[in-house]
């Protein structure tokens, strides 16, 4: 039953390293580690299947597997939760898939220096279930909070819904251990010192390995920030008659300087129309409500109480109507469960069909949001005109800065995709649309991606444009650290680093 293109001898070596019960070559084990929630060409599923899967339990095992891969020149693909919205964990060239989910232990809770050290396979919700009894939390809070894992958060340089208050993954991971593409195990942080938050020693290597999409190694341990479990949460939703008013109000709220403000989220008119049409969990609002802004604050009760008064005043003074406690508290509390919202969309006939939620996630300066919004919807409209399997679910813009909710915005257009219908033509159109969406982001001074990564087909073509001279450095770094190109080959166009003429 176990058919792989790896030699039986190599599989035996993997078993020798990881243990017989932790190496899988069966078809189901491999097919079910081929995809992630990002749009996936299901009709070509077999092109993305690894040849063997290992579930290591220690960094030393990971290191030995990587060294073995180097000896045999076999690709390695790291996988944590497999919940990413780009394709970091999708094998493009088969090989050995290193699944780190069993490395999910909590190794050290340090309440004095305020850190927790964990394996990369742990989930944030599960971690916080343990931490809460100590009065602290790890505040990395993406929409995928109940299912994504710390290793993947580092691999994608994740973004947190409450990052405006607490920072994002790169700010919250203090240091980590990583197995390099050649098998060496190293510790990286801002400088040295596993629990040091700020250092000026040497290069800032932590950031080099943030968001590498599995191309620069495999994280095997991480030391994370602990913050006091907030005494108070305050969320307020405001309604507006049009997008422009809501956009101006968003700017005012974000720039308010309220220290406990964790984030401001702007829902555009098409988002509201979609929620009204198809999200029965969304509490209905009067038809004159065309745009909504959500805000959330966290902190000590006395601080939040005072901040909330100021926030409410700004919201109302800038044209917002408070939507009431039910939607403000209910909708915010349900934010994780509602990621991907209703999971169905409609054909033009009105027929409901199961659709995957997909969101593009560029970082866009505040000033450019209205223009980008227009151009992105036009791209989605063009897709929908040609293919019934796409449905524009509207846009969100979230404050994107760590510790300060102003400046640029994680700007998201949600597109429902009826993935049962993929064929080569629709896939090609989708890839082109993604490229067009990314091009708009760059034209307005933004970045292709605020949180998912930019390694997918279509957008990845524009990564050299976005990074400029930095792209050349990126290739040099890749080739220096991974001389045999075994670590997640094919991703991020980094195969170019090994082409003739590249040095």
């Amino acid at each position: 039953m176990a058919v792989t293109s790896l030699s039986e001898g190599l599989v035996d070596e993997l078993r020798g390293i990881c243990g017989h019960d932790y190496v899988f070559t069966g078809r189901s084990a491999r097919f079910n580690r081929a995809r992630v929630p990002a749009p996936f060409p299901v009709h070509r599923w077999d092109e993305f299947v690894p040849d063997a899967v290992v579930l290591p339990r220690a960094a030393e095992q990971v290191s030995e597997v990587v060294k073995l891969a180097n000896r045999h020149r076999v690709p390695i693909v790291p996988r944590a939760g497999g919940t990413g919205l780009t394709d970091g964990a999708v094998p493009l060239n088969g090989g050995i898939l290193v699944d780190v989910k069993l490395m999910n232990e909590i190794k050290d809770i340090d309440l004095v220096d305020r850190t927790v050290t964990v394996g990369p396979g742990i989930n944030m919700l599960k971690l916080n279930e343990e931490l809460r009894r100590h009065g602290v939390i790890y505040p990395d809070n993406p929409a995928s909070y109940p299912c994504s894992l710390v290793g993947g958060r580092i691999g994608t340089s994740g973004w947190s819904l409450i990052g405006g208050r607490y920072g994002h993954t790169r700010d919250l991971v203090i240091s980590f251990q990583i197995v390099l593409p050649t098998g060496e195990i190293i510790e990286v942080g801002d400088g040295g010192g596993r629990k040091v938050r700020k250092s000026s020693t040497g290069f800032q290597l932590k950031h080099l390995f943030m968001g590498h999409q599995g191309t620069l190694g495999i994280v095997t341990e991480a030391t994370l920030e602990l913050v006091p479990r907030p005494e108070a949460e305050f969320s307020a939703f405001f309604a507006y008659p049009d997008y422009d008013t809501a956009w101006r109000s968003t700017g005012a709220l974000a720039k308010s300087g309220i220290a406990t403000l964790a984030g401001v989220v702007l829902f555009d008119e098409r988002k509201l129309a979609y929620l009204r049409r198809d999200d029965e969990a969304y509490i209905p609002q009067p038809p004159e409500v065309r745009s909504v802004v959500a805000t959330a604050m966290y902190g000590n009760a006395d601080e939040v109480r005072v901040g909330a008064k100021r926030l409410m005043r700004i919201g109302v003074e800038t044209g917002g109507n408070y939507l009431g406690d039910e939607i403000s508290h209910g909708d915010w509390a349900a934010r994780h469960d509602r990621y991907a919202t209703p999971l169905h969309g409609r054909l033009r006939s009105g027929q409901v069909v199961p659709m995957s939620w997909h969101c593009e996630d560029a970082a866009i300066p505040y000033s450019a949001l209205p223009k980008v919004r227009e151009e992105w919807h036009a791209i989605a409209d063009s897709l929908m005109e040609r293919f019934e399997m796409f449905d524009d679910w509207g846009m969100f813009a979230y404050t994107n800065g760590p510790y300060k909710p102003w400046g640029d915005y994680l700007t998201e257009i949600d597109i429902g995709i009826w993935e049962m219908q993929w064929d080569d033509e629709s896939w090609a159109a989708w890839v082109q649309a993604k490229k067009d969406i990314s091009a708009v982001a760059l034209r307005y001074g933004g970045s292709i991606t605020a949180c998912h990564g930019a390694s997918r087909e279509g957008e990845v073509d524009l990564v050299p444009d976005e990074l400029g001279g930095g792209w050349e450095v990126m290739k040099k770094v890749k080739k220096a650290l991974d001389p045999h190109n075994v670590m997640n080959p094919g991703k991020y166009l980094l195969d170019e680093a090994y082409e003739e003429g590249e040095s």
């Binding site: 079910n32 929630p37 009709h43 599923w45 579930l55 090989g95 029965e280 999971l343």
Partner: protein, 410 residues
């Protein structure tokens, strides 16, 4: 590099059109989501951390099979890794946010049962389940006595000395584990009901409810056992069936209606709910103080599958002397004893680890007694509770109620 896969590349589906009609949309609804919120509440996944043991895989396999990428041979073993506790269904965003509107509910448990049945029909059998169901078929009761046959002539031995009649309008169905292993449970139930003057009898020939066979994929056998039990109930004039175990309750309220439709004209009464009612109405006085510090284990098939979590807590709160350290029923979605759906037969080590983790959570509450309302959970929890530095005793809720009512237990 993926050329090893090529021979199995997209081809003909190995699933029948009828199967696909029932499961295609459900499979795509899950496949489309990719959320995997189900994963960290799954008792099996929490231990194995293997992506094959997730509802995502259970559904994605159907997609892959429809597309011809995978065959039943490839996936059959995946479906062994489920206790059918139902946590994933509750945690699924498709259930949470579209269920009411579209009358849709993620039905992972039914999918697992359906795939296990397909496998058995195709001759892909798991050795432990094959033997277990063969022995059940031979002796009419599950082989719960570790190799010793559960003979039909002994099925009512638990009731010795209790002077219970056969038949009548109300009949008590005693689960295999309770009838042959944890006999203190049905004896406690019988004494409680007699104490309050609640009339009931036993079946003439009680066979296993058939639920476990259905859970393990032996659908034909399950149906045969159900037909026997229904015939026996009719023969003794039963109108109401008292059910003391949650697993049987699932079989009677989910499997039996699917077999018999409207012809199934019995009322199924869960003993826990009946006793809660008796206590609430003052018909059952709990006067004997029980000096124990307890927590309650939400049986999966009550809490997660049937939404029954209040009645057992009402009962515990009515017992004098008891210190009850409760953990809310939603937190307990991620708890399990590992005992369901034949999982422990095929994967005893993982099942034991699930039970160990459950008992560890209880121990963190500094209790001396873990109270359950599910006979099947009590053996593995007792085993793990006994291994603790400060051992935890496991009691059935009805055993503790009998004590509190001043009745003999055992």
């Amino acid at each position: 590099m993926a050329d090893g896969i090529a021979p199995g590349a997209q081809g003909e589906s190995t699933l029948t059109p009828e199967f696909l009609d029932e499961w295609r949309n459900a499979a795509y609804n899950c496949y489309s989501s990719g959320h995997k919120f189900c994963r960290e509440v799954c008792p099996v996944m929490q231990v194995t951390r293997d992506e094959r043991h997730t509802p995502t895989t259970f559904h994605a396999n159907v997609v892959a099979m429809e597309k011809g990428f995978l065959s039943l041979d490839d996936v059959a073993e995946d479906y062994v890794n489920c206790t059918q506790c139902g946590a994933c269904e509750l945690r699924c965003p498709n259930t949470l946010f579209t269920g009411d509107f579209y009358r849709f509910r993620t039905r992972t448990v039914d999918l697992v049962k359906a795939m296990r049945s397909l496998a058995v029909e195709a001759g892909i059998e798991q050795p432990g389940w094959k033997e277990w169901n063969a022995l059940t078929d031979r002796y009419k009761n599950e082989p719960v006595l570790n190799g010793q046959p559960s003979l039909q002539e002994n099925v009512a031995d638990w009731a010795q000395g209790l002077d219970l009649p056969i038949g009548g309008e109300t009949v008590l169905f005693c689960d295999c584990e309770a009838a042959f292993y944890r006999t203190s449970l049905p004896r406690a139930v019988a004494r409680i009901l007699k104490h309050v003057g609640y009339e009931f009898g036993l079946m003439r020939e009680q066979w296993c409810c058939g639920g476990p066979a259905a859970e393990m994929g032996y659908a034909e056998q399950a149906r045969r056992f159900a037909e026997h039990n229904v015939a026996d109930w009719r023969a003794v004039g039963a109108k109401r069936i008292l059910v003391l175990d949650p697993h049987d309750y699932i079989a009677f309220t989910e499997d039996y209606p699917a077999y018999f439709g409207d012809e199934l004209d019995f009322e199924f009464v869960l003993v826990v709910e009946l006793v809660a009612e008796l206590v609430n109405e003052g018909k059952l006085q709990l006067t004997q103080p029980i000096e124990r510090v307890v927590t309650y284990h939400d049986a999966c098939r009550l809490n997660k599958r049937k939404g029954i979590h209040k009645a057992p807590r009402d009962i515990l709160r009515a017992i004098p002397g008891l210190t009850f350290k409760d953990v809310d029923h939603v937190t307990q979605w991620s708890y399990c004893s590992g005992a369901g759906a034949g999982f422990a037969i095929e994967r005893p080590e993982v099942a034991a680890e699930i039970a160990r983790r459950r008992v560890d959570k209880a121990a963190a509450l500094e209790i001396d007694t873990l109270v359950s309302a599910c006979a099947w959970s009590e053996r593995p929890l007792t085993e793990q509770g006994g291994k603790l530095e400060r051992p935890i005793e496991v009691l059935d809720l009805m055993e503790i109620v009998a004590q509190a009512a001043g009745l003999e237990v055992g």
